[in-house]
């Protein structure tokens, strides 16, 4: 007669302790859509970084005699109203989108994160007060908030970054607060607290690392939205102060008058925005599914 099998929790634990991120990385490598997303993001990053090296023309260099030329060998994506090479401008436009997108999401993450972490750590009145501030921000629909900020602070890259960041603040604040509030009562946090860990140590060592996963996923997806919002501001005429700057949204708005004569001036910048957004969305979704294996596609 064989002895009944007994599962030993310790051993099971040991087998699974490869680490959340290593596990997730492994799953990510087998996640087709995420890899496609990664490839598209790489394309975008390469365009931004290598723009000065691979662009055949400068972003503001053009001759009026060459204007509104359809795509040819000399000008892969054609030329715009000022005779500037559209392909080169799209490459340089990636720099603006990358810079503004990353900085604005980071700013939103820091501001929202601070609000959310404070609210989620202290709870009670502090939480109630901070969440009312977030409610005020949430009460203004995203792009309108961004438009208002740029309209008042004036046009400029820092203003655009702040504007797009502000639209992300409520998202990150609520996300982090929610996770932290749930974690406050988790067994391992209660254990650490009862061992006399300070509030700061509890937050930094025990709670934050466990609350970050959804935040990282949200940040990846927010990059897609941020890049679309930046282009949206440009499209509404609230782009970079120098109208010559190669910015995808501004390029589109300049071309709307030539929808009939030069539709390629709409398609190529539009395609650039879509490819980048698809990249971040695919990768973000893949990341979410890899970090949380319980989620099934």
């Amino acid at each position: 007669m064989t002895a009944p099998s007994i599962s030993i929790p310790g051993r099971v634990e040991a087998r699974h302790s490869r680490g959340l991120w290593r596990d997730a990385g492994r799953r990510l490598l087998h996640h087709g859509p995420a890899l496609v997303g990664l490839a598209l993001i790489s394309l975008f990053l390469l365009a931004a970084v290598l723009a000065p090296l691979i662009a055949p023309f400068g972003p503001i260099e053009g001759k009026l005699v060459d204007r509104l030329q359809p795509p040819t060998g000399g000008h892969l994506f054609g030329t715009d109203l000022q005779g500037r090479d559209e392909f080169s401008r799209i490459l340089f436009g990636a720099q603006v989108s990358l810079q503004v997108g990353v900085v604005s999401v980071f700013m939103g993450l820091v501001m929202g994160g601070l609000i959310g972490a404070t609210a989620g750590t202290f709870g009670g009145r502090v939480d109630a007060a901070l969440m009312r501030v977030v409610d005020v921000l949430l009460a203004i629909p995203g792009i309108l908030l961004a438009i208002a900020i740029v309209a008042w602070l004036g046009r400029g890259l820092p203003q655009i970054m702040l504007a797009v960041a502000m639209t992300n603040v409520p998202l990150f604040a609520r996300l982090l607060r929610g996770s932290l509030l749930a974690l406050r009562e988790a067994d391992f946090v209660v254990a650490a607290r009862s061992l006399g860990a300070s509030r700061l140590r509890l937050l930094m060592r025990h709670m934050l690392p466990n609350a970050l996963t959804p935040v990282i996923v949200a940040a990846t997806l927010a990059l897609a939205t941020a890049i679309i919002d930046v282009a949206g501001l440009g499209f509404l005429g609230l782009g970079p102060p120098d109208p010559r700057t190669a910015e995808w949204g501004t390029m589109l708005t300049d071309s709307t008058r030539f929808l009939r004569a030069a539709p390629y001036l709409i398609f190529f910048p539009g395609l650039a925005i879509v490819i980048t957004a698809v990249g971040f969305n695919l990768f973000g979704d893949g990341l979410r599914e890899s970090l949380d294996p319980r989620l099934k596609r």
Binding site: R132, V133, D135, V136, A139, I140, P141, G142, I143, L144, I147, A148, A151, W152, L153, G154, A224, I228, A231, G232, F235, L236, G237, L238, G249, L252, T256, L259, R260, P263, I266, F267, G270, I273, V274, A277, V278, N281, L282
Partner: protein, 334 residues
Amino acid sequence: MGKYIIRRLVGAIPVLIGLSIVLFAFVHLLPGDPTRAILGQHATAATVASLRETLGLDKPLWEQYLLYMGQLARGDLGHSVVNNKPVLGEFMTRFPGTVELTIAALLVAVGFGITLGRLAARHPQTWTDGAVTVVSLLGISIPIFVLGLTLQFFLSVRLGWLPTSGRIDPRLAIPTVTNFMLVDTLLAGRPEAFVNALKHLVLPAIALGSIPLAIITRITRASVLDVANEDYVRTARAKGLSERRVDGRHIMRNAWLPVTTVIGLQVGGLLAGAVITETIFAWNGVGRWVVQAISNRDYFVIQSSILIFAFIFLIVNLAVDIGYAFLNPRIRYT
């Protein structure tokens, strides 16, 4: 339930007050002088001073804020510095345009979103599912202005099927009654004008509805798949119910809840998206008006219109929450 509604309504008051302070501070603390915007750069110091007095700009800020709140309480949202028309009146004439567009976009999003989501969930992991997933991915990733311009190019410029912009052919001269073009054309008894207005509505509604369409598709698919794996669905099949009945009574009834919540949440996003959509399609609504106010530096219009927008946004979200509580008996009003 009654208590819950009252508590939510009371909770909205501090948010509105906070919002009014933020907007007030924006207009008054930041660079730029409304009097200069009204009078231009060449006005004499005396005219500027007298206008400042008329507008109450010479008083201390807190007093100005209280005056502003007093005005709001009386329903006076100020006047445009560009044409001196009352903001509230201007808002009310344009708001029906935005509502018409938003409702049309919501119909597109809900109609196609739920159909596509159910279709994908019925055939998971097949090419149908894949195609639907791609459509919803594109819906989320294509900005309204890119989709709008692309639709304009193919369906209006190239094929000439639909009009490029505007709410109706101006030659039709429809008398304005409600400012809802579809209603006004019917009130005028002009079916050909109704069709014309409807045609003008199609492209903007698709462009604006694309993002909610994608989100509703995803949620419907996930929700239906979730419910379809429940034990009681297997039981229903096992006892020999027709697939139609299983789908209608056992799956969809339970899958509705998350879908309705998400639909409600989209309304706010649609109002925001209307700003861009109206600009592309020269649609005479509130969004386009705000964008024009911004380029004209029409301070009071910006301040008040954003406040009204936010107010509507809050009301809509509140209605969604209450509707959700009503639909879901399991929710606790705590």
